[in-house]
């Protein structure tokens, strides 16, 4: 009877250990076309709304504003400018690996020429003083490409 012995007030924690969840996400037609464009043609594809004319990257089936199906593909090439950037300095846990990311790492929002939305990627420069919003950038492709966003290794300032 009575309270557990010892009267010791210890507060425990339960750990998830190395738990992981594996998914197999279907890219669907539109994202697949985009990724195959990177892999096979080293180009970045956008898609244009037939009603409002907005050019979306990454491409997708529906223009949310007009609620119409889009089918006009636009070859956006590989250049644009930096719309926003972050130099990540504090390592956080990479959800892909459960281990800290390597810092510094520069995340950028690229407004590609001819696009109305931004593509997210990395910049190969981590010195804030050498990065400017509005600077021209160009995608640098890998030699071996697999149909992923990392077929672009990074963007570099021109």
């Amino acid at each position: 009877m009575g309270a557990p012995a010892g009267g010791e007030k210890k507060l425990l924690e339960i750990s998830s250990g190395e738990a992981e969840h594996v998914y197999y996400w279907h890219c669907g037609y539109y994202m697949s076309q985009f990724l195959l464009g990177l892999r096979d043609r080293k180009t970045i594809l956008g898609i244009k709304c037939p009603r409002c004319g907005r050019v979306y990257v990454p491409p997708r089936e529906v223009c949310g504003r007009c609620f119409v199906t889009m089918d006009e593909w636009v070859d956006l090439g590989t250049e644009g400018y930096i719309y926003a950037f972050t130099v990540v300095k504090l390592p956080y846990i990479d959800p892909n690996t459960g281990k800290p990311i390597k810092v510094p790492r520069t995340d950028i929002y690229v407004k590609l020429d001819g696009a109305d939305t931004c593509l997210m990627h990395w910049l190969d420069e981590t010195d804030e003083k050498k990065i400017a919003v509005g600077a021209r950038v160009k995608a640098v492709f890998k030699k071996r490409r697999r149909g992923t966003i990392h077929d672009i290794e990074y963007f570099k300032q021109i």
């Binding site: 507060l11 990454p58 719309y83 959800p95 990627h121």
Partner: protein
């Protein structure tokens, strides 16, 4: 048609960085019991419950079902809503519609988070599209930083203007016993704090907290019997528009403008600066406290810094903002926006203690989703 609905009780935990002494259910229970106590109700009086958080912070699937021991939902209706950072706003709206529809008379909304149970940035970065954006999403700080950089250039605002917002919120928190960070700071402290992403510094940004909040909504029949001065819900509104992070127009803040426009229209507000007595705003960075006032139509473009310098949004100013200390001092993410609603309600009910703004007739609370989902609520001392 719509039944009039009011907030009649608010409860929250003493927010802190880590609550090792309670599990999630027990944390929730503290807020629930305080809300019941505040409204002088028992669990029997509650007809339905809504709960929300962000799943990947604690990795609990079917939180509504799991919560029963804390939320009190045993043999009651409960459902879960979630929209990221704006979850608290979504919860408040959901409770409002539960009552306004006529299905339920007394309804409790619960927001909670135990951010200490995982790496917040790891969990939040899974909100980005896994195939195209996840690897490049180091948080919302970059775009906010760029937004303020552009703003300074265009309107002559300074880093000190943002620091003044941080000072205001942090120092207001000294009056709020529930706030997580309660430390007096100066503009100089903010300016000297570590640079996270130019021009945003450590003291310009929000912490992560363990905490819960519960807010009780009641119908027109029931509310006046529960409390002599309920906070009547006059309007709620939501707007958002993105799928990918890259989609958003950082300069124009279309979703904030749309939300503000919509909620003012529904509440019949034409001049927010004059007609609203206090605001509890979801400002994740102090810079947002400069720019967003303009997108909320409180003042015209470029005018916000001068209002901040004049102290218009200070406790004794014309339109006090964040008497509670806001998100910069307390941020249990799934609860954060519901705390805004709860604090706004306390102001209307005249129960905000040391952080009370005198004679509040109209209060506004906002919610901000981790990427540009805005919600807003207008509460008044008078019935709609």
């Amino acid at each position: 048609m719509a039944r009039r609905t009011a907030i009649v009780g608010v409860g929250q935990t003493y927010h802190t960085s880590k609550r090792k002494d309670v599990n999630g259910q027990e944390l929730i229970n503290e807020a629930v019991k305080r809300a019941l106590e505040d409204a002088n109700l028992t669990l029997k009086d509650i007809d339905a419950i809504i709960i929300g958080n962000m799943d990947h912070f604690e990795a609990i699937n079917y939180v509504d079902c799991w919560s029963v021991d804390g939320s009190g939902a045993f043999m009651k209706p409960i459902m879960k809503v979630t929209t990221g950072g704006s979850t608290g706003g979504t919860l408040g709206a959901c409770a409002y519609y539960h009552v306004a529809s006529g299905f339920f008379d007394v309804v409790m909304a619960i927001g909670w988070e135990k951010n200490s149970e995982s790496d917040t940035q790891a969990a939040i970065s899974t909100c980005a599209d896994p195939i195209l954006e996840r690897d490049f999403f180091g948080g919302a700080i970059g775009p906010n930083a760029a937004e303020y950089a552009m703003y300074m250039k265009e309107y002559g605002a300074t880093q000190e203007d943002a620091a003044r917002v941080a000072v205001r919120d942090h120092n207001n928190a000294l009056n709020n016993p529930y706030a997580h960070l309660r430390k007096f700071i100066t503009v100089e402290d903010v300016m000297n704090s570590p640079m996270l992403c130019w021009p945003i510094k450590l003291l310009d940004s929000c912490p992560r907290s363990d905490g819960a909040c519960a807010v009780i909504y009641a119908s027109e029949d029931r509310a006046p019997k529960i409390t002599p001065k309920p906070a009547w819900v006059h309007a709620t509104a939501v707007s958002h528009d993105y799928v990918y992070f890259g989609d958003f127009d950082w300069e124009a803040m279309p979703t904030l403008e749309a939300t503000a426009t919509r909620v003012y229209k529904r509440a019949g507000i034409t001049n927010p600066l004059k007609e609203i007595d206090v605001m509890e705003l979801y400002l994740p960075f102090s810079t947002c406290g400069v720019i967003w006032m303009e997108h909320m139509w409180v003042c015209s473009r470029g005018e916000s810094p001068s209002l901040i310098r004049r102290g218009v949004f200070d406790m004794k100013g014309e339109l006090p903002v964040n008497p509670s200390g806001g998100v910069l001092s307390t941020n249990p993410i799934g609860a954060t926006a519901l705390i805004r609603i709860g604090e706004a309600a306390l102001q209307v009910m005249g129960k905000a203690g040391d952080r009370q703004v005198s004679n509040v007739k109209t209060a506004m609370a906002t919610a901000f989703g981790s990427c540009y989902w805005f919600e807003a609520t207008i509460l008044r001392a008078t019935k709609p």
